[in-house]
Subunit: 326 residues, 2 copies
Amino acid sequence: MSPVPAPGTSELVAGIFAGDGRRIGQAISAAESGDGVPELSRRIFPKTGRARVLGLTGPPGAGKSTLALKMAQAYRARGRKVGIVAVDPSSPFTGGAILGDRIRMSEIYTDPGVFIRSMATRGSMGGLARATSDAVDILDAAGFDVVLVETVGVGQDEVDIIRTAETVAVVLVPGLGDDIQAIKAGILEIADVFVVNKADKEGADRTSAELAMMLDLTPGRSWRPPIVRTVAPRGEGVPEVVEAMESHRSWLANSPEAGFRAARRARARLVALLEERFHRSLESRSPESNGLEEAIRRIRERREDPYSAATRLFERLTREPAAERA
Amino acid sequence: MSPVPAPGTSELVAGIFAGDGRRIGQAISAAESGDGVPELSRRIFPKTGRARVLGLTGPPGAGKSTLALKMAQAYRARGRKVGIVAVDPSSPFTGGAILGDRIRMSEIYTDPGVFIRSMATRGSMGGLARATSDAVDILDAAGFDVVLVETVGVGQDEVDIIRTAETVAVVLVPGLGDDIQAIKAGILEIADVFVVNKADKEGADRTSAELAMMLDLTPGRSWRPPIVRTVAPRGEGVPEVVEAMESHRSWLANSPEAGFRAARRARARLVALLEERFHRSLESRSPESNGLEEAIRRIRERREDPYSAATRLFERLTREPAAERA
């Protein structure tokens, strides 16, 4: 490919509204880099809110990507356009974003009704969460009916990302064994649907039974997450997963939980943007003006502890009128 | 155990200086929760800076914990007191912090010269990074000569945490194969020592050779990370790892890199504290005063996009004099 000038916001917005895959990809790349896409976001935002946003999370190796592909095919069979956003922190170890794209693309890349994208960023998890929300908005505005957000479930930040979805499936595999006891609390909190993938493996019965027991022990929830068994590569159980996701949607529509979740999503997004801005304001100030360099020196020389330095600096940063900051 | 009142800062500080394991543990717990330990930090900070802080990172299943234990034993044989801080984000899936402690404790918990602690937090990765630095300071002030920080290498945030160490070993295992190409950049950046663990497994030669080739292809670095093979459960290669870590220290002591790294550590810590404070200031303000609730409503109703709302709020948050915030 010969180098071409990067498209402007107007071209990207027009491309998004036209469902142009190339422009959608460029827009997501823009969202991933630097400060995001404020102008683009402003212009597409009124057209968002139509897509159904689903989350798929679970430990590495649970087969989430394959399941996501098969779910996409199932939704395609129902005539829906599907976007997949795979969130894989720019890991020094997995290189997941790079390899992932290639494998996935080989299967259904010819279908214009499917758009697959792995998110990668060299920045912080906060930046990744922000970019993921932007990508969901872009696909939403581009007319995708379903957006599947896939994360590898590792830490709190990934949990925060998956919470941007309306309905979340937690994908497990047989053989977790005793671990289920340990992971109870976290899983219970985020799962709307449980998927026991690789259900043809030994231990699937036990994993399902343990999940069921766990749910029995926590009564009083108005939605009981169904447990669905799948063998994703063969497509077994996939229609049932889609069914379970849709059932949850119907339940949610008649529950006060819907409003609560929407507010939580909006709040998380806003807080992430504010924090990113704060971070940027720290980095962008000149070394003399922000007092950061001097504080670093004082800490290194052990003349001031980090907490005291932070208190002092924070006062200064938030007291100054923003106008003097440029 | 019958409930006892939580010890005050003075008791904790006295306990830390006396090397009292129970007080050290309580101080780290305090650091993990909420807003950290500003007063304690202020009082112990002048006594820090003596410990040698080592980092151990790598993919899940690489055998880092066992290696950390064996390294601790090797340092003990040299008469050094060793603290191990295992950073395992409060994962809904691994439950690592809970299980890890139990397994590790069974081996060398009787030795008062070893203190092992798994970090866990329900908060953000930023909070975890901050608490980890606090834990390192506490162990440092308590007279531990070596503090080993172990992280599961997954994303950028874990890389940031491991950068708090002076010398970092990246632990790999045979069988990564093609992945080494994908993970090149990230690894090169953080590794001072490479450990090929499970070196009795097939493929160890290839993994070592690939690493060596990768290093050959990036000349011009003044420190070439040694590649050490280990079979951690049998202790094989562990003295060589310790030797490699110590060689790096000697090199660092005579390199401008030492000052650069110390400044980077201080900066990362300060920025994390400032960001945590900013986050708290967002959460603690009353719903009416901060404009957050109204902005959330506007976003939900799609009357304002998140970026515009963030810009508006940020101006407001940083313009107001801090005195009016209480």
